[in-house]
């Protein structure tokens, strides 16, 4: 079943699939960031796949993996962790991800689409043109991670107040904040 899904997605997207993985029946495909709208349109309009429902989209911060890849740790004799973990190969991947969770209402199958977002180019094309449901998740991702979505009709913060500096769900942001104070203005 899942292999069929991966095959179908590969047939639909062709060379747009950079990488794919499967974990406990959940299929994830990674696609280039600039082509995300094209990918989602293809997945939505393909008659066999018909991923017509956007469940969620969210950001991920891989800061620790990123650091580990940038600075490979030396193996120590006492700990087996380093031996168990797969060694990162090649250049470190971009720090951020944006994931799209798709559901097909006709076949009841799910798919996760992932794009990598490098730190020096924090923008992903907006998919609000395909699903209006993407409006608030994209605002939340902008609020929490600082990833911008060109093409979004109204990219404001969703959870924090408008003047809030910083992006709280980044891994280098402390839990208790950096002493941000809400300044109450009286009119």
């Amino acid at each position: 079943m899942t292999m069929d899904l991966l095959k179908g997605v590969s047939n639909c997207l062709g060379p747009l699939v950079i990488a794919s993985s499967e974990f406990r029946g959940d299929v994830t495909v990674e696609v280039p960031k600039a082509r995300i709208t094209e990918v989602l349109v293809r997945l939505r309009d393909d008659p066999a796949l018909a991923f017509d429902f956007l469940v969620d989209l969210f950001g991920v911060d891989n800061l620790d993996l990123y650091k580990k890849a940038a600075k490979p740790e030396k193996k120590t004799g006492g700990e087996g962790d380093a031996a168990e973990e797969p060694k990162p190969e090649g250049p470190p991947p971009p720090r951020f991800e944006v994931n799209y969770l798709l559901l097909s209402l006709s076949t009841n199958r799910r798919l996760q689409v992932k794009v990598r977002v490098p730190e020096d180019d924090l923008s992903v094309p907006s998919v609000t043109g395909l699903w209006k449901a993407a409006t608030w998740p994209e605002r939340e991702t902008y609020d929490m991670f600082g990833i911008r979505f060109p093409g979004h009709p109204d990219l404001r913060r969703l959870l924090m107040w408008d003047e809030f500096p910083g992006h709280p769900l980044r891994k280098d942001y402390p839990l208790e904040g950096r002493g941000e104070v809400r300044i109450l203005r009286y009119e």
């Binding site: 959870l159 924090m160 107040w161 709280p168 942001y173 402390p174 839990l175 208790e176 904040g177 950096r178 941000e180 809400r182 109450l184 203005r185």
Partner: protein, 165 residues
């Protein structure tokens, strides 16, 4: 005896009369933002029946409320709204901070949570607990009544008005 039978008169101090009236009608403004709000509803409902103490009418408008019962977590985003609600309440007014979050931010030592509502508005009675039982809230209401008893409403501005200043 005439006081009980005919259109008699009573002898008392005006200050005590005002306090007596205020004390027996502390209309609450329920400001429940989280789990403590459920406990507040429980205190208002038939089981604990806050109406026994004159808190008969939960005022959902700040204009006619006396006691602001802040039950629940206040985020920094919510703080200006809480401040505005408090400012809209007519004097005299009292505030009960119900539960750990309202008192000090509770378990949420985070960037988004206000670490106690006394950073924004003055508080008369703090009720500890997570959440406090309804008895705790009723006790706080009784403490508010004790506080009202010790106030002097005819001093200050009102006294000036009375004396025609």
């Amino acid at each position: 005896m005439e006081a009980y039978t005919g259109s008699g008169w009573l002898l008392t101090k005006l200050e005590q009369l005002v306090n007596w009236g205020r004390k027996r009608s502390p209309w609450p403004l329920p400001y429940g933002t989280a789990c403590c709000g459920i406990e507040l509803m429980c205190a208002l409902a038939s089981g604990y029946d806050m109406a026994r103490f004159g808190a008969e009418r939960p005022s959902f408008s700040p204009r006619q409320a006396d006691v602001l019962i802040e039950a629940g977590t206040i985020t920094k985003k919510m703080a200006p709204i809480l401040r505005r609600i408090y400012d809209q309440m007519a004097e005299p007014k009292w505030v009960i901070a119900m539960g750990a979050c309202a008192c000090s931010g509770g378990v949420f030592r985070t960037y988004s949570t206000l670490q106690g509502i006394d950073l924004v508005i003055p508080v008369d009675v703090y009720v500890p607990g997570c959440p406090p039982r309804p008895e705790g809230l009723l006790y706080a209401l009784l403490k508010i009544m004790d506080k009202i008893d010790t106030e002097h409403p005819l001093r200050g501005e009102i006294a000036g008005l009375v004396e025609g200043k």
